[in-house]
C-alpha cells in the first residue's frame, strides 16, 4: 500500500493547512475520517448496531403477543406502555436507522466513488458531518428511553392528537426526543444526498457516459432526489408538531381548530416516496448481482432506468392510500386508488426485466445470488398484496390489520435485510479483502428465508381474519381470540426466534471472515464494474495505478466476440484484443 502516501491529503480539500503528513491516529482513521469508504463503514456498523436494537424490541413485544403476561427472558414483563414504546422504536429504527443508513448512506458512500472511478466524494467534510449528525440522532433516540415517562409510544407514523399531547401519549419528553431524532436524521441524509448527486454529476471517470453508470448508482441517485423532494413538508410538519407539543399551538389539534389529518398528509407525502427511496437501491443491488451471476447483460438497461424514474415520479401521487379510512374525501380516495394500482405496473416491469435477464444465463447459485433471487420472489409477494390494499373498498376491511403488517414486511424485509445481505456477501471481498465462508453463508440464507415466511404468512392469515394491529393483549378482545388465532401468533413468534437465532450465524461468519477469511483477489467474481479494478480492499484514494478510463457499459457479459465471459469497463480495445 505504498500508494497511501501520495494519494493521501487529496480528499481533505486543498490541504492549505500548511503542515506535512503525520501518521493517522486511530481517531483520525476510524472516527474522524473523510474517506468515503470509512464513512460508509461507519454508517454500516451503526446501522447494524441499530438493527440489533430493532431486533431486540421486536423479540420483546412478539413474546408478549404470543405469551401475554410472561416475563420475557432478557427483558422482563412487558407493560402496556412498554409495549407501545417497543413497537414504535422497532418501526422507527428499522426504517430510519437501519434501512436508510445501510442501503443509501453506507452502500452509497462505499460504492459511488469506486463504481464511477474517482477517489472520493466531492464534499468529503460534508460527508463526515452527515455521519456525525446521524450518530447524534441515534443517540438522541436511544436517550429517549431514559427520560421521564420513557420513550415515545405513538407509532413510527406519530399521528396526532396522540403524539401532540402529553396527556394522551404519557411521554412528555420521549415524544419530543423522538421528533428531534427523526429531524436530525433527515438533516444527515439531506447532506448525504447532495453529496451523492453532485459526485455522480461531476466526478465520473473519463469516458463514463450516462448510460455507462451502473444501475445501483443510478438507483441511489434517484432515491436521494426522491428523498430530498419529499422530506421538506414533513420537516415543516415536524416543527409544527413540536410547537403543538411544547408551545401549546394547535396545528393538529381539532379542539383548537387544527386538523390531525393534515399531519397524516404531510407524513405520507413523504412516507410513500420514502418506501421507494429504500426500494430503488435494493433493486439496484439486485441488478448488479444477477448480471454477474448469470453472466448476462442486463436485459433493457434503459428500460430499467426510465422505469425507475417513472416509479419515482408516480410515487408522489399515491400517498393518501394510507388514509383511506381517515375520513378523507371519498372522491380523493378514488383517485388515489387508481394511482396506487398504476404504480404497481412499473415495479412489476422491473421484476420482469430481472427475470428476463436470468433467462438463458449460466446461473451460479452463490450466496449473494441466492439473496438476490430471494429478493425478487419475496418482494413480489409484498407488491401483489399491496394491490389488495390499494383498492380502497378492500382496504376499509384490511386497514390496520395484520394483513397490512404482513404486506409491508414482505416489502421492507426484502429491502432492508435480503438485499442488504446480498450486497454485503457480494461486496465483502472488496470491502475487507477476504472471502466470507460460503457454507455459513448458505446456512444463514436458508435459515433466514424459511423462518421469514413462517413469520409473515401466518400474519396474512390473521389479518384476513380481522386481527387488529397495535394491540397489547388480545385476551381483552374475545373476537380476536377465536380458535386457532393464538396458535398462529405463537407460530409467528417462534419463527421469529428462529430467524433471530440465524442472525448469529451471520455475525459469526462476518467476524470470522474479517479476521480468518480466505484472502480475496481484486476481482473474485469476474465482474465488470470499476470497483473490481481497485485492489481489495481499496487504499485511500481508491485506484493506486491512477483513475480508470471507461470504455463501455457495465454489463458486457458473455460478449460473443470475446473469449472471456466478462469485459471490464476500464479495459481499452475492441473485443478481439481480449486480455484480462
Amino acid at each position: 500500500m505504498s500508494a497511501e502516501a501520495h494519494a493521501h491529503g487529496h480528499a481533505d480539500g486543498h490541504g492549505h493547512h500548511g503542515h506535512g503528513h503525520h501518521d493517522e491516529g486511530f481517531i483520525k482513521k476510524y472516527l474522524w475520517s473523510t474517506d468515503h469508504k470509512m464513512i460508509g463503514f461507519q454508517y454500516m456498523f451503526t446501522g447494524m448496531a441499530m438493527a440489533l436494537l430493532g431486533g431486540f424490541t421486536v423479540y420483546a413485544f412478539r413474546m408478549q403477543l404470543a405469551f401475554p403476561g410472561i416475563s420475557v427472558p432478557g427483558y422482563g414483563r412487558v407493560t402496556a406502555t412498554d409495549y407501545n414504546a417497543l413497537v414504535t422504536t422497532h418501526g422507527s429504527v428499522m426504517i430510519f436507522w437501519v434501512a436508510m443508513p445501510v442501503l443509501i448512506a453506507a452502500l452509497g458512500n462505499y460504492l459511488i466513488p469506486l463504481m464511477i472511478g474517482c477517489d472520493d466524494m466531492v464534499f468529503p467534510r460534508l460527508n463526515r458531518l452527515s455521519y456525525q449528525i446521524f450518530l447524534i440522532s441515534a443517540i438522541v433516540l436511544i436517550a429517549s428511553f431514559y427520560v421521564d415517562g420513557g420513550a415515545f409510544g405513538g407509532a413510527w407514523t406519530s399521528y396526532p392528537p396522540l403524539s401532540a399531547k402529553a396527556e394522551f401519549s404519557l411521554t412528555p419528553k420521549g415524544s419530543t426526543l423522538w421528533l428531534l431524532a427523526v429531524a436530525l436524521e433527515f438533516v444527515a441524509f439531506l447532506l448525504g444526498g447532495i453529496n451523492f448527486v453532485t459526485t455522480v454529476m461531476n466526478s465520473r471517470a473519463p469516458g463514463m457516459k450516462m448510460f455507462d453508470v451502473p444501475i445501483v448508482v443510478w438507483m441511489i441517485i434517484i432515491a436521494s432526489i426522491l428523498f430530498m423532494a419529499s422530506v421538506g413538508p414533513l420537516v415543516a410538519g415536524a416543527v409544527m408538531l413540536l410547537f403543538d407539543q411544547q408551545l401549546g399551538t394547535g396545528f393538529f389539534d381539532p379542539a383548537k381548530g387544527g386538523d390531525p389529518v393534515l399531519w397524516q398528509h404531510l407524513f405520507w407525502f413523504f412516507g410513500h416516496p420514502e418506501v421507494y427511496v429504500v426500494l430503488l437501491p435494493a433493486m439496484g443491488i439486485v441488478a448488479e448481482i444477477i448480471t454477474v451471476f448469470s453472466r448476462k447483460k442486463l436485459f433493457a438497461y434503459k428500460t430499467v432506468l426510465y422505469t425507475a424514474i417513472g416509479t419515482g415520479v408516480l410515487s408522489f401521487f399515491v400517498w393518501a392510500h394510507h388514509q383511506f379510512i381517515a375520513g378523507i374525501d371519498p372522491r380523493m380516495a378514488n383517485i388515489f386508488s387508481v394511482t396506487t394500482l398504476l404504480i404497481s405496473i412499473p415495479v412489476a416491469e422491473m421484476c420482469f426485466v430481472y427475470i428476463a435477464t436470468l433467462y438463458g444465463g449460466s446461473i451460479r447459485l452463490t450466496t449473494p445470488m441466492l439473496w438476490a433471487l430471494a429478493f425478487i420472489g419475496e418482494f413480489l409477494l409484498g407488491g401483489v398484496t399491496g394491490i389488495f390494499l390499494g383498492a380502497s373498498g378492500a382496504d376499509i376491511y384490511f386497514h390496520d390489520t395484520y394483513f397490512v403488517i404482513a404486506h409491508f414486511h414482505y416489502t421492507f424485509f426484502p429491502i432492508a435485510f435480503i438485499a442488504v445481505f446480498a450486497a454485503v456477501t457480494y461486496w465483502f471481498p472488496k470491502m475487507f479483502g477476504k472471502h466470507m465462508n460460503d457454507t455459513l453463508g448458505k446456512m444463514h440464507f436458508w435459515g433466514t428465508i424459511i423462518s421469514f415466511n413462517f413469520i409473515f404468512i401466518p400474519l396474512f392469515v390473521l389479518g384476513a381474519r380481522g386481527d387488529h394491529r397495535r394491540i397489547y393483549d388480545y385476551r381483552h378482545f374475545p373476537d380476536l381470540m377465536k380458535p386457532g388465532m393464538q396458535d398462529l401468533r405463537i407460530l409467528a413468534t417462534v419463527a421469529l426466534l428462529v430467524l433471530l437465532a440465524f442472525q448469529v450465524v451471520f455475525l459469526a461468519n462476518f467476524i470470522y471472515s474479517l479476521f480468518k477469511g480466505r484472502k480475496a483477489e481484486a476481482n473474485p467474481w469476474n465482474a465488470n464494474t470499476l470497483e473490481w479494478h481497485a485492489p481489495s480492499p481499496p487504499p485511500h484514494g481508491n485506484f493506486p495505478e491512477g483513475l480508470p478510463t471507461v470504455h463501455r457499459g457495465p454489463y458486457e457479459y458473455s460478449h460473443p466476440d470475446r473469449q472471456d465471459d466478462f469485459w471490464p469497463q476500464h479495459l481499452a480495445g475492441d473485443a478481439r484484443s481480449a486480455q484480462s
Binding site: 480539500g13 486543498h14 492549505h16 493547512h17 474517482c118 477517489d119 472520493d120 466531492v122 464534499f123 468529503p124 467534510r125 460534508l126 453532485t198 459526485t199 455522480v200 454529476m201 461531476n202 466526478s203 465520473r204 471517470a205 473519463p206 469516458g207 463514463m208 457516459k209 450516462m210 423532494a229 419529499s230 413538508p233 381539532p254 379542539a255 383548537k256 381548530g257 387544527g258 386538523d259 389529518v261 393534515l262 398528509h265 404531510l266 407525502f269 408522489f316 401521487f317 400517498w319 393518501a320 375520513g327 378523507i328 374525501d329 372522491r331 380523493m332
Partner: protein, 150 residues
C-alpha cells in the same frame, strides 16, 4: 447529469476554499450583497401584506418567496454554474407543491360533512374574519387575517 465527466477538483472548489480560508480575497460571488438583497426582499414581503390588498398580499408573500428561493438556489447552492437545472428544479418543486396542496386541500379546508362538523375550526375562521373586518374596514374584504386555522 452532464454527458462529459469533469475532474473532482472542480466541484470540491467551493467546499475546500470555504473551509480553508477565512475571508475570501477571491473572485467569489459577493455573498453579503446577495444576503442584503434577500433581506430587502424579506422586508417587502413583510410590508406588502400590511397594505391588506389581496393581490398585493399574494404577490408580495408568495411571489417574493419564489424569487428568494431562486436566488438562494442560484447563488448559495451554486447552481448558477449549471444554469438549466435551476429552471428544472424550480419547476419540479413548484409542481410538487401544487400537487401536495391540491391533494391536501379537499380534506383540511373542509369543516363539515354528512355526519360531522368541526365546530372549533369553524369558530376560529369566523373569529378571524370578524377580527379582520374590524381593522381592515377600508377594503371591506380581508379574509387573510384568519390563517390560524390552517
Amino acid at each position: 447529469m452532464s454527458d462529459t465527466a469533469h475532474a473532482p477538483a472542480t466541484a470540491d472548489h467551493g467546499a475546500g476554499h470555504g473551509a480553508g480560508h477565512g475571508g475570501g480575497g477571491h473572485a467569489h460571488t459577493n455573498y453579503v450583497k446577495i444576503w442584503g438583497i434577500l433581506l430587502a426582499l424579506l422586508v417587502v414581503s413583510v410590508l406588502g401584506p400590511m397594505l391588506e390588498i389581496r393581490v398585493v398580499t399574494l404577490i408580495t408573500a408568495f411571489g417574493i418567496a419564489v424569487v428568494k428561493a431562486y436566488i438562494v438556489v442560484k447563488y448559495f447552492m451554486h447552481i448558477g454554474i449549471e444554469k438549466k437545472y435551476v429552471g428544472y428544479l424550480l419547476a419540479t418543486m413548484i409542481a410538487l407543491m401544487v400537487l401536495m396542496v391540491g391533494g391536501i386541500s379537499p380534506d383540511v379546508l373542509k369543516h363539515d360533512g354528512a355526519r360531522w362538523e368541526n365546530v372549533a375550526a369553524k369558530k376560529v375562521v369566523t373569529e378571524g374574519q370578524a377580527k379582520g373586518a374590524d381593522h381592515g374596514d377600508a377594503h371591506g374584504k380581508t379574509p387573510e387575517a384568519a390563517p390560524a386555522a390552517h
